[in-house]
Chain length 495, copies 2
């Protein structure tokens, strides 16, 4: 028999690695996602919402020879008597559920299937500063077509989306590259696989940091880094390194010129030529729709995450400058990325299905909108109707009802009304723009006091009603002008 013990009080704590979102944090994200969904809808993408839970089998994160699914996911075993229930897990992205859904419903879904999905995903990882174990993703994918028009469409949609949520043209750039081009370059270098190939790929990743000459040195004999340490080179000859450098420096302001440079870099490689042709097709399609290089560019330096993709890759970069933690200016950077991948459904059906898609970093984009002052400006606090006389509660309620009917956010103070200062502190905490005050004097005279809290000085803790009334930011108006006066003050605050 188990011992009976008094349970201690539970701790009121957000679980480690998770967080709570309050007020505008919730509504601003919802509003941004709604705008994004509007653009996706206009492009013919359909919403899909799968459950948070998938079988570990379908997620593909199950290692068949260990008892416990690997650490990346939150997983548990379904209870049954023999302890042989299925392993279930929280989805870690929105792509794995799409693969499952497409395989499951492929006979009923249109082909190609354009779908978007928005929602939280979960990662069973060590949390760190700014790294949470639950966060939002926002994906759009087209499944079932190899046409470059699908890739071009997603790039155009991404540009439209950024403008729709409030990133002005000129402050973003969609950069497009193709995995096959780099593969072609490596092919002509005789680096189809192996350690040296991996070393070359790692070196290419440093292009943004060390530039052309740095990469040239690192691909060949090595170089001294800024700290004076000698970094060994990959050991290529300068002739071998040439196609890589041609690839990395191929970008021109003119798309046709960039493509010509790339064609040179891939030389005889059929795969490389294929990649250049795909880029050309995308560039033509985008040009026909009026998406010029001020919005979307061919840029061979897009290398991030290339390993996952099989053809075109694209990235949305915000080009305006912000100050980093150390006060240095830098570009805001990437807020979305994606590309073409082919084995989405193969795990389930054995058939390869081509697909291409993009994922927006929801928190990154929200942070960008905050940087640009597009959101986070106003707290949208309610008008607070204070309570001077408990027995008049019905009359205070009638006031807020009138304000709400006029579309004004309003509430009656429902705490203990005894200390008026507490009511004003409450209004302050609520971010209220206006307080309404009416005691028996006002009711007898058919009047009401309306206080502009934005104009007014900061709330003193123990101010008396009389002190408040003397402030110039307070107005006495006839009761039937309550809504009009509040509206006038709110309009003035907006201006």
């Amino acid at each position: 028999m188990a011992k009976t013990k008094k349970a201690p009080r539970p701790k009121a704590e957000t679980p480690k690695g998770f967080r709570d979102y309050f007020g505008v944090e919730v509504t601003e994200r919802a509003e941004m996602l709604r705008k994004i969904a509007g653009v996706y809808h206009r492009y013919g993408f359909d919403a899909l919402e799968t459950s948070a839970v998938e079988t570990v089998e379908a997620l593909g994160k199950f290692l068949p020879d260990v008892d416990r699914p690997n650490e990346g996911v939150f997983a548990w075993q379904e209870f049954d008597e023999d302890d042989k229930g299925d392993w279930m897990a929280l989805r870690y992205d929105l792509t794995a559920p799409l693969a499952r859904v497409y395989a499951q419903y492929r006979n009923d879904l249109p082909t190609p299937y354009r779908r978007y999905a928005m929602g939280p995903v979960w990662r069973n990882e060590k949390p760190g500063p700014g790294r949470y174990r639950q966060f939002y993703q926002c994906d759009a994918d087209t499944v079932g077509t190899a046409s470059m028009a699908a890739d071009a469409e997603i790039c155009a949609m991404l540009a439209d989306t950024l403008e729709e949520v409030g990133i002005p043209r000129g402050d973003y750039l969609i950069r497009v590259n193709n995995r096959k081009v780099l593969n072609g370059v490596l092919e002509v270098m005789g680096l189809d696989e192996g350690d040296q190939r991996d070393a070359v790929l790692r070196t290419i990743d440093k292009f943004d940091k060390v530039g052309e000459e740095g990469v040239r040195a690192l691909l060949t004999e090595g170089r001294l880094d800024a700290s004076g340490a000698y970094i060994d080179g990959v050991g290529l000859t300068h002739a071998q390194a040439k196609p890589v450098l041609a690839f990395l420096t191929s970008k021109s302001d003119d798309a046709a010129e960039t493509l010509a440079n790339l064609r040179d870099a891939v030389g005889e490689s059929a795969m490389g030529a294929d990649g250049v042709q795909e880029l050309e097709a995308i560039a033509d399609l985008l040009a026909a729709q009026g998406y010029g290089p001020d919005r979307i560019v061919i840029d061979p330096s897009v290398v991030r995450g290339l390993g996952y993709y099989t053809g075109p890759v694209y990235e949305a970069e915000l080009t305006f400058e912000i100050f980093d933690d150390k006060g240095r200016k830098r570009q805001f950077g990437s807020v979305a990325g994606g590309g073409r991948y082919d084995d989405l459904v193969k795990r389930f059906t054995g058939q390869a299905v081509p697909a291409t898609g993009v994922s927006i970093g929801v928190d990154r984009l929200l942070a960008a909108l905050r940087e640009k002052g597009r959101i986070g400006g106003s707290v949208e606090g309610p008008v607070v109707v204070t309570v001077m006389d408990r027995d008049r509660m019905a009359e205070y309620q009638a006031m807020v009802a009138e304000l709400r009917s006029a579309g004004i956010r309003a509430e009656v103070y429902l705490g203990n009304p005894k200390n008026f200062g507490n009511q004003m502190k409450y209004a302050d905490r609520r971010g209220s723009p206006v307080a309404v005050i009416a005691g028996s004097d006002e009711f007898d005279a058919g009047k009401v006091q309306i206080k502009d809290l934005v104009l007014g000085a900061q709330i003193a803790e123990n101010a008396t009603l009389e002190e408040w009334k003397e402030r110039p930011s307070q107005f006495e108006v006839p009761r039937d002008q309550l809504v009009a006066k509040v509206r006038e003050i709110l309009d003035g605050q907006d201006g």
Copy 2:
């Protein structure tokens, strides 16, 4: 060493008890929740979004003497070397996270704290028809005030919410009762606790079904039911049963009369009198805001879920009729319910905090809107631009870009364009209102064919382009009138 074996293909299946939501199922719910959030916002309620995951300790579902949390929740143990990690679980409602948040942030939150929350919750229960293990909840609660104004406010907000989402006045009724009134009735009957009290409560629950005389018989000597079986009574005398019957039949069209009847029914009970007074306060507050008995009524027959609540309880009932599974007419019924509860935060802090709140049954309300024809009418399929000539893809893309710029949902067919019939089948599957057709003839002539698919007959599988062109629902217009003509057809379809 583990044996190496080839993993079989995973099954592409929605996990048991879960479901996938497609297209309008997602967007209609999102739109309804957005409208609800708008009303809640206007009433001064702030959004709160907690993570899906809570510690089992905070959820309060952990049985301290067993290794495994009880079955109602999906739970797992955090991994650490000693297997002593915390137990985590998916939230099973939105109230338990509110309790945790209020306890955790009580010094920073305004008091009272009005918050709303919307999102999925999870139940580890045996799934059944229409019963899922993940579903949406939509809650609004006011924490930290015992004022009846908080309860009245939520009733008014509920009425406004139903009208906002599309339930017209007259098709719903908010019914308000008070737990203390029934307790008072039982107190004057000498039934403070025990088996007989429970039997009386069960009998009260049957009032809707068996009526006044039926309840009278069941409370006393028993009765024959419809099938001819004799149902034993609770064994009260007719004098004892009188207050219960007075309570159950106290409802009048006039709130004052209902309250007077209830005052009679509770007799000398202080608790009962308290309950009646609370109902009276709510009725007065609502009357002052113009919420009459056509929207909100005092109704002592609201008994469901009374056990959980400590004071006022309220329920939103949709009064229009639908046909049930057996073709019988019945009222649509309840879509929301709530009430006052006091020990929300006590588990964490030891202090009782008064709270009152409502939960809307999201799926029920969506079903009601579907019944009323408010949603689900149009599939919102995109205009499909078909592909007659693969090499003209850029020109087809330019067409959809123009349509989208005009706010029209549009897409290019991106499947294999070889079989035109397949393109029209695709358009059918997408619910497209309009198809755009342009081959070399049209391009040479600067024209485009526009087909009204709603007007047109159902799509024949192997129709040729020529057959399609002969249909009267197809129009040839100059290329530069594409958007105007499509708009004209869409407007005609709406009308």
